[in-house]
């Protein structure tokens, strides 16, 4: 039976600058029991489609045409009161940012029972019973019913929202980005819950996401949206094995994949068209590597191209050939290169003083980079630039005069605990781990935003703790930080020129013309061309991807030796992520930069880094060459992290996780192994004895009892999820 059938639906938003056609002639069918994944980058109309279905469009939104048939009823003709009755009983929605969807001043249990009683007509007793059952179903302890939302972790809130969505046994569940912003391990567990429930309850699901790996794990069919239209529809397996639209091709190639790593990721350069005046031809033409003249004139319709597949592309009949061609990343970079001549520099100090390279070198730069990780440390990969020796960072919370007055006990948070590693010139290191593992604190220590409580950080021979004002200023000119959120990283009141020129002014560049030259050169180098155009813009006038390039430019404007990038792309759309990463990686090589990437995304670190360090509760539990750590993980925590990364391939099912979500707060120091509490392989020794540091011939180190003298210690008995 067809549950939902959308026919030729169009939704407009009235804005000050004209009408935006957010959804334009979309048709879609959802059969009972089907799990449809709706993919696309932000602003392509996915969420608008959802809002149109349940009719909660904002005031300026209007349905311009089409039909939405739910079990044969036309929702658009339904009176408001009946539509309201339909919501949640028939169509339940897990909204975007569902973490904030629970009322903060009401107990979660009473929110759930209120829903059951008001909307479901349950009696008080039955509602309590049902609420407990639902919590059981999504894997939450029923005691938690009496807790407030702030006492829940992110994953638990998400589970609670799922429980609420299932409360009235809806025939259709629509989930908008249900796992975005969750840690990998939590993400994995939520997806597992969703998958189990789908099977158990035979749910009909529409899942909206930008993350194709989530779709690969949970859905059986896929619709791809671009600029308000559906450009491809297919069952999951053929979609992932043989995508039939250039946009789908690009999305897949832009995604890092732990199972099948690539040398260079594809970046779909450019931005979706302005939907106030959509182009008359194909909407993807501007960004498409296979564009032909006809594409600009003819608007392709979504047409069947085989058994229950459809694509909207003029060249869909040539897709087998194009698919092979699309494997070549330089094809996708064509757009980027065409915008200007890519400059390049030799990492020698003389060249670093800012000379533009010859056009011919541009080609060399865009050739795939040879992976660096095969290089043995110490074989001429540069001398040691940064060295950390037993570094710790403790924070005190509570306490102080105010704390004394409030009766707060002082507490110590061991954010970073006795870590040591070194970094050579030109080398890149990735720091990974769940949130709260101390990776960002390490980043701040490295750039001396905060000072270490213990241990030494040596930068180019100088101890960070013992710097006078002059050497500190010199240090500041050589070390830079790149931030996660490009929208916050630039002063909203400064023009880009002002932002970029600030570091130069601080470091005594008096000559305005020289400053201007340097700023333009740097903008050019991060592929913002023509650079002059950007100088008088304010941050809000740029897109996220462009802004992150400006942030990179500011970090590089002083030609530093060392760059720390804290989650540099996690706020950006997948399609532009690769572009930023590629540029950063290329520039780091050109400038001989040592780089530390901080990310929760292992596949991204594998792509960008020579070495990876895995952190847990402030300690480095494993460190080594990237391919070694990913393909031959030693520490159980590393294994769990890798197992949790969803693979963008429906044929590969993620292995079940053996650890529980939830990083404890690091307020105590452990005698044994910090991970012992969550470790599936924990032994008795793990609780009492410090694990040994095991090193193999590749400088691949892990700190774990499994490989030491206590390997035969008796296993701890504990219940696993």
């Amino acid at each position: 039976m067809t549950i939902l059938s959308i026919r030729d639906l169009s939704v407009n938003y009235a804005t000050q600058d004209g009408t935006v056609q957010a959804v334009d002639g979309v048709s879609l069918d959802l059969e009972e029991g089907q799990r449809l994944g709706l993919i696309g980058e932000s602003g392509c109309g996915k969420t608008t489609l959802l809002k149109a279905i349940v009719q909660v469009l904002p005031r300026n939104g209007r349905i311009a045409g089409g039909k939405i048939l739910f079990k044969g009823m036309d929702l658009l003709q339904l009176p408001a009161a009946e539509m309201r009755q339909l919501r949640w009983r028939e169509i339940a929605t897990i909204p975007q940012a569902s973490m904030d969807s629970l009322n903060p001043v009401q107990r979660v249990g009473s929110q759930l029972t209120k829903l059951l009683r008001v909307r479901g007509g349950y009696s008080k007793k039955a509602a309590l019973k049902r609420a407990a059952d639902l919590f059981d179903l999504v894997g939450l302890d029923t005691e938690r019913l009496s807790h407030y939302p702030h006492e829940f972790s992110g994953g638990m809130k998400q589970r609670a929202v799922i429980a609420m969505a299932l409360a009235l046994e809806p025939s259709l569940l629509i989930a908008d980005e249900p796992v975005t912003a969750l840690d990998v391990i939590v993400q994995h567990q939520i997806l597992e819950v969703l998958r189990e429930l789908e099977q158990e309850l035979n749910l009909t699901v529409m899942l909206i996401t930008h993350d194709i790996s989530v779709v690969a794990q949970v859905c059986d069919s896929v619709s791809v949206m671009y600029a308000g239209r559906i450009v491809e529809q297919a069952a999951a397996e053929p979609f992932f094995s043989s995508p039939a639209h250039p946009y789908s091709l690009g999305l897949q190639q832009a995604f890092p994949n732990l199972a099948r790593p690539r040398d260079v990721l594809v970046s779909i350069e450019g931005y979706p068209p302005d939907l106030r005046e959509p182009p008359s031809g194909c909407r993807f033409a501007e960004r498409c590597p296979f564009v032909q003249d006809a594409c600009h004139d003819i608007d392709p319709k979504l047409e069947a191209i085989g058994d229950s597949r459809a694509a909207a592309c003029l060249r869909s009949n040539e897709m087998d050939v194009l698919r092979v061609q699309s494997e070549d990343p330089s094809l996708w970079q064509r757009v980027e290169v065409a915008q200007g001549l890519a400059p390049t520099l030799d990492p020698s100090p003389k060249m670093r003083e800012g000379l533009f390279a010859s056009p011919a070198e541009a080609q060399r730069v865009h050739a795939p980079l040879a992976p660096l990780w095969g290089k043995e440390p110490g074989d001429g990969g540069g001398d040691v630039l940064v060295q950390l020796q037993n570094v710790s960072k403790r924070f005190k919370i509570g306490g102080g005069l105010a704390g004394l007055l409030r009766g707060d006990k002082e507490q110590t948070v061991y954010a970073v605990n006795n870590i040591s590693f070194s970094l050579r010139r030109g080398e890149s290191l990735g720091l990974a781990g769940e949130s709260g593992c101390g990776k960002s604190t390490t980043g701040k220590l490295l750039v001396k935003l905060i000072d270490a409580s213990d241990g030494e950080i040596i930068f180019d021979g100088a101890d960070l703790a013992a710097m006078d004002d002059d050497s500190l200023l010199a240090f500041r000119s050589r070390v830079q930080l790149m931030f996660q959120n490009p929208f916050e990283a630039l002063n909203p009141r400064f023009t880009l020129y002002r932002s970029l020129t600030e570091p130069l002014v601080i470091h005594g560049w008096k000559d305005e013309n020289k400053r201007l030259d340097r700023v333009i050169e740097t903008l050019d180098r991060v592929n913002l061309r023509p650079a002059e155009v950007f100088l008088d813009k304010y941050p809000h006038q740029l897109s996220g991807g462009q802004l992150q390039r400006v942030v990179l430019a500011r970090a590089l404007v002083l030609h530093p030796d060392f760059l720390v990038a804290d989650e540099p792309v996690s706020m950006l759309d997948v399609s532009v992520r690769a572009g930023i990463l590629n540029t950063t990686r290329r520039l780091a090589r050109e400038l001989g930069l040592a780089t530390v990437y901080i990310s929760h995304d292992l596949s991204l670190l594998q792509y960008t880094c020579d070495r990876i360090a895995i952190m847990y509760l402030g300690e480095i539990v494993e460190i080594g060459p990237s391919n070694q750590v990913i393909n031959n993980p030693q520490h159980p925590y590393t294994k769990a992290l890798i197992a949790a990364v969803p693979v963008p391939d429906p044929t590969i099912e993620n292995p079940p996780l053996r650890i529980q979500e939830g990083v404890p707060r690091p307020t105590e120091q452990f005698i044994g192994c910090p991970f012992a509490q969550r470790c599936p392989d924990a032994m008795e020794a793990c609780l009492t004895v410090r694990p040994p540091l095991i090193t193999d011939e590749n400088e691949h180190r892990a700190q774990c009892h499994l490989y030491g003298e206590h390997r035969d210690s008796p296993k701890l008995k504990r219940q696993l999820p």
């Binding site: 909660v56 309201r84 009983r89 909204p95 569902s98 009322n103 006492e151 006990k409």
Partner: protein
Amino acid sequence: MNRGVVYYILGRFLQSVMVLWIIVTLLFLLFRLAPSNPLASYIDTTFTKQQEAALLARFGLDKPLGEQYIIYLFNLLKLDLGETFSYSGKSVMDILRADLPNTIYLTLSSLLLAYLVGVLGGIAMAALRGSLLERVGTTFTLMTRAAPQFWVGMLLLTFFAFQLKLLPSSGIGPPMVRYRWETEWDKLMSPVFWRHMILPTFTLALYLHGLPLLLMRSNMLEVLDQDYVTMSRLAGYSEWRVMIQTAARNAMLPVLTALTLGIGYSIGGNVVIEHVFSWPGLGRTLVRAVQQADYPLAQGAFFFIALIIVFMNFIADILYSLLDPRVGATAQAQVS
């Protein structure tokens, strides 16, 4: 109640005591170091040296400053505020004790009226956002906040008391009746008293309703933007439930805190209204005491008002931590 909340309350209490101590000290210094001699207006030229010294001794003004301060603090602890200059033989406490109930009646009745109107009005303004009615409503509220209270009182007095002769113009009762009330209960039961209360209450409420109204309006607008409100729409709750049960309930929390704070500040701020309506309360006594240079009385009234404000600030903090589980939790997290 868990340990965190208890600690939080205890800590806040200690803090309030310290704040009060500092205020009391400032008050002492202010009155002792004032440019003029505190007894100047009572010592006339006919006084002999002995009479003057006796007067100084009677009020303890002959002792060194440090000793005066210590005595002053101990007396405060016993709630002994000394003797008045101008009402011979009466202690400051006697006078304030008679004033305090009148001030409290006026404050509470006008605050309740103001917050009732303000909260409902705020919800309505938020619901009517962007309409002509909203613009008229908020402009009217702004006008009531901009108009000086005593002026509004004067206009109402002129109109209702003098022109229409509907309501009494001053005091809490006609002079003959005033002293017949033997207990506060008698006073509260008397229709005469209530008739006298109408104009001052209404004037004060007219001024006070602006804060809760504007606060409620902006809180509502903020809460209506929150995801959990969207969620309850998505869940198919009726618009009434969304607006009242979810949004208004959450938007109320800061308004309740404002009400608690308002009790404190109104008691101090009623001065002008009490003066206009000759309402025998703390504020009018303070004004008179200052005018007549009756320093012990002025100091005592000031102390009393400050005590009430600090206490209500304390209550507001506690109330908020009890109403919003998140505040109590941060307090708890810092302890456990």
